[in-house]
């Protein structure tokens, strides 16, 4: 089975600085693999092992995110046999359709595949729509919140999808695009051997496609107004401290 796993390289949100005017400064933020895409990489690795298949990682993004060899190696240490990239400084990838068109173009360029796996959402914008839209653009079956994937014979997967109040078991005809839930697995930490091997795996930059048009206009992006919290903090868990908490609860809450 030929598996392609999509992952987005995102700024580490813990390293974003909020400026005095509530605007964001991303210049000090390092790049990382989106948290939920780690689940997709892990699923791809497991499915490739179960089917004796191959796994390709695919990422689209700007040069700042994708040019660094460190991040490429990080992706490659998590199971893929190779990495394919669309490096496009012209799009800002904040519109789900725009990103999906870039991925769909890359998948067409790659040509043959059986299943495309995506994470639940990117950890920066978290639209949870790019996988679905990519599949829909290619006219393929799509599913979100997939919680289990099992090979089910020739050209089929048996997929469990967990909704709010029910669990569905579905038979998916391949090729298909699946977005996996972050519940599906706990991503393994890459072993040293995998990290060493990662540097030797092939990386190919694809030519990319047109269709950079965006559907959205960003009007503003500001940190939430700091809520005024009293921050009355007492150090200690002795009788006096606990009594102060009890009094606070009785006075303000209960």
């Amino acid at each position: 089975m030929k598996i392609i796993v999509c992952c987005k390289i995102v700024p580490n949100e813990e390293e974003i600085t909020v400026l005095g005017d509530r605007k964001l400064d991303l210049s000090a933020a390092s790049w990382k693999i989106g948290q939920y895409d780690l689940n997709a990489l892990e699923s791809g690795k497991q499915l490739a092992a179960a089917t004796g298949g191959t796994m390709t990682a695919l990422s689209v993004g700007g040069p700042a995110a994708l040019d660094a060899s460190k991040i490429r190696k990080d992706v490659l240490s998590r199971g893929p046999d190779d990495l394919k990239l669309v490096i496009d400084g012209g799009r800002d990838f904040s519109d789900s359709l725009q990103t999906a068109k870039a991925l769909a173009g890359a998948l067409q360029e790659i040509g043959q595949f059986d299943v495309v796996l995506c994470g639940m959402g990117s950890s920066d914008l978290y639209q949870q729509e790019v996988g679905i839209q990519t599949g829909a653009l290619l006219g393929l079956p799509v599913l979100n919140n997939v919680t289990d994937i099992q090979p089910a014979g020739d050209g089929l997967l048996r997929v469990e999808r967990t909704l709010e109040n029910e669990v569905e078991v579905l038979e998916v005809t391949l090729p298909a695009v699946l977005s996996v839930s972050s519940e599906i697995n706990i991503p393994a930490v890459p072993a040293m051997r995998e990290i060493m091997r990662a540097g030797k795996k092939p990386v190919e930059v694809l030519s990319g496609s047109d269709g950079a048009e965006t559907s959205l206009t960003t009007l503003s992006e500001l940190a939430p107004e700091q809520q005024d919290r009293r921050q009355h903090v007492i150090e200690g868990d002795g009788e006096e401290a606990i009594e102060a908490l009890v009094q606070f609860l009785k006075k303000e809450c209960l």
């Binding site: 519109d95 359709l97 950890s123 979100n144 965006t214 559907s215 009355h232």
Partner: protein, 307 residues
């Protein structure tokens, strides 16, 4: 100036009512679309939309299969906003519909306003670090709205009700479906919440937290790792930008460090009380009252004193 046409599509009638009521003043015409037969449509009529379309489902059917038929209906307008509730199914249908309408999708929108004749959508980005305001620059816009964006209102029931014109497309074959075993708590409606973090050492210790919850009449929620990594509580119980966003009268965080992602889920609480061993934990910058101490000492003491 108002928006000409808004579609509200929901697989949950409660959410349908809330969104229809909220957008009615913004649009010339609101069309509601629901999934089920004429009986479902009758129940849904309370949403008060100008027009109601229902998409019949048989046992094998799924709402997602109606994407094409719904797109045809929406395209009759020449330009419209299509708003969904924020369920997993709705997000799937929204994405497919977005492709058919050649537009992107904004999900988990937490505020929707009308400004100068266009809709402005607000949502959290970068794990809750910022709120982004966006509008669609194409004729069609598709979005999913989080619960609680609008206050519920009561409108006169819809009388213009009809089945959808198109037929559902063949869908993915469903082999089995079952009710979810693990329940979840409706934390969105909870007035009092205990919020468990990674400071809890073992699953058994949840009993201690539940005992306190019982004493003060609170629900128990948690941070992401407690639900997803440890699986100690159902996923529906985790609060954060990617989980549930709550607004109780008060919340007591127990062993929660207070990452941005989690704070984004609890910062609408009226009062935040925090207990954590680590004096430097960011949660103390986001609380009203805090104790730097051991939850294993403090929780039993609270149970005793408040019983």
């Amino acid at each position: 100036m108002s928006i000409q046409s808004i579609f509200v599509i929901s697989d949950d009638l409660g959410a349908l009512n809330e969104i229809c009521g909220g957008v009615k003043p913004m649009a010339d015409k609101v069309t509601a679309i629901v999934f089920g037969g004429a009986d479902t449509a009758e129940q849904a009529a309370a949403c008060g939309a100008d027009r109601l379309i229902y998409c019949p489902l048989d046992d094998a059917g799924a709402p997602e299969n109606y994407a094409g038929a719904i797109a045809d209906e929406v395209k009759k307008t020449g330009g419209a906003a299509v708003l969904f509730n924020n369920s997993i199914r709705s997000r799937c249908l929204a994405g497919i519909l977005g492709v058919m309408l050649d537009t992107g999708v904004l999900t988990s929108v937490n505020e929707l306003t009308e400004q100068d004749g266009q809709l402005v959508y607000r949502r959290m980005v970068y794990g809750g670090t910022a709120q982004r305001h966006e509008s669609f620059s194409k004729p069609y816009g598709v979005a999913t709205l989080s619960g609680g964006v609008f206050e519920p209102v009561t409108l006169p029931a819809t009388t213009d009700i009809a089945p959808i014109e198109g037929a559902p497309a063949a869908g993915i074959k469903r082999v089995a479906r079952s009710e979810k075993k693990e329940g979840g708590t409706n934390l969105v409606a909870a007035k009092r919440i205990l919020d468990v973090g990674r400071g809890l050492a073992a699953k058994e210790d949840l009993e201690m937290v539940r005992a306190l919850a019982k004493v003060i009449g609170a629900e128990v929620g948690c941070s992401r790792p407690v639900a997803e990594n440890n699986k100690w509580l159902p996923k529906a119980n985790y609060m954060g930008i990617t989980g549930v966003q709550v607004k109780p009268d008060f919340i007591i965080t127990l062993g929660v460090s207070g990452q941005v992602q989690h704070i984004g889920g609890i910062n609408k609480s009226k009062v935040i009380i925090s207990v954590n061993k680590d004096k430097a934990a960011p949660i103390f910058k986001n609380c009203d009252f805090g104790l730097v101490g051991d939850i294993y000492k403090i929780v039993p003491a609270l149970i005793e004193k408040l019983s």
